[in-house]
Amino acid sequence: MDSKSVMNAITSKFPDIHFVFRESDIRITGRVRAAKVVEVCQYLKEEVEFGHLCCEFGVDYPERNEIEVVYVIGSYEHPVILTMKAILPRDNPEIESVVPVYWNANWYERETHELFGVQYLNHPDLRPLVLTEELYGEWPLRKDYEGFPNKTARNLV
């Protein structure tokens, strides 16, 4: 299965998914509406053999006032990797959790939640994962975070 047939399979089922470009033969980038993420993932996993969630993370765009949540989905059967983006408003980023489909999204979503402030609906256990409680709520990986660089080191040159 190559990228062309994967693209055809997805567009026939979900005509409103907008494919931006193909980087090479085995990479596809697509854009999906935030409300449909779980439905699309379900279809990808069951019908197009995309059984391996490589990673899930956020990217912050303060100028556009948007946060992108990116899903990189691979497969054990074919070498195609699909990059799927959902665009959320920066003031109130909310998206449905994909944990029921891809089990290992659990930690990725917890991490994205505490680093970017993305709210995952219906997530089984949305607690902070890597940060201490004091840092929770500051969303350190957003571009306008003020605690970086940290100037507390005494012997800075």
């Binding site: 940060l131 350190p140 975070y145 660089p149 940290n150 012997n155």
Partner: protein
């Protein structure tokens, strides 16, 4: 609580009343302390506390090839058995309380070695939002071993320097 009854000691000719600290203070000025320090410097058991890249070199130092047993430097897994804590990496805000607990669990006399640039000055992560800087203000550090990561030989050199400090009574682990 009832008040402790005060006992009046009778003055016995030829004896002197003292408490244990006074004996210690007296002994520290004599050759006895030199003998104690000789024993201490030759059995510096360190705790395996791999926290970062330097932790891998820490494991390698204690094992077969570099064989620090020759100097009485033995890796121990429990803080209760250890004399030396090696801070072998970046101390994050989340990890600092755990490290302090480990330090409190170690029996004195005890020493600290800062192993690697991250523990000394922050290393490549000096500007990170989650690491804790200026570790030497929190722990009484005796020896700094620079490098990113330092080689195993550098750690052995660090132990030799610590031994020199102990025998010269200039270490921070013991009160003189």
């Amino acid at each position: 609580m009832d008040e402790v009854e005060q006992v009046e000691y009778e003055q016995v000719p030829g004896t002197m009343l003292t408490d244990s600290n006074a004996i210690c203070d007296f002994l520290k000025k004599t050759k006895v302390q030199d003998v104690l320090n000789w024993g201490r410097k030759n059995s510096l058991w360190f705790m395996v506390n791999a926290m970062g890249c330097c932790g891998v070199e820490l494991l390698a130092t204690g094992m077969a090839h570099y064989d620090t047993d020759r100097f009485g430097i033995i890796p121990r897994n429990s803080p209760r058995h250890a004399d030396v804590m090696i801070i072998s990496g970046y101390v994050t805000k989340k990890y600092l309380p755990a490290l302090q607990t480990v330090w409190d669990q170690m029996p004195s006399p005890k020493w600290v070695i800062c192993f690697g640039d991250c523990a000394i000055s922050g290393g490549p992560f000096y500007e990170s939002y989650s690491t804790h800087q200026n570790i030497d203000e929190i722990f009484p550090v005796d020896v700094f071993v620079p490098g990113c990561p330092p080689r195993c030989e550098a750690l052995i050199q660090g132990f030799v320097e610590l031994q020199k400090k102990i025998i010269a009574k200039k270490d921070k682990g013991t009160e003189y």
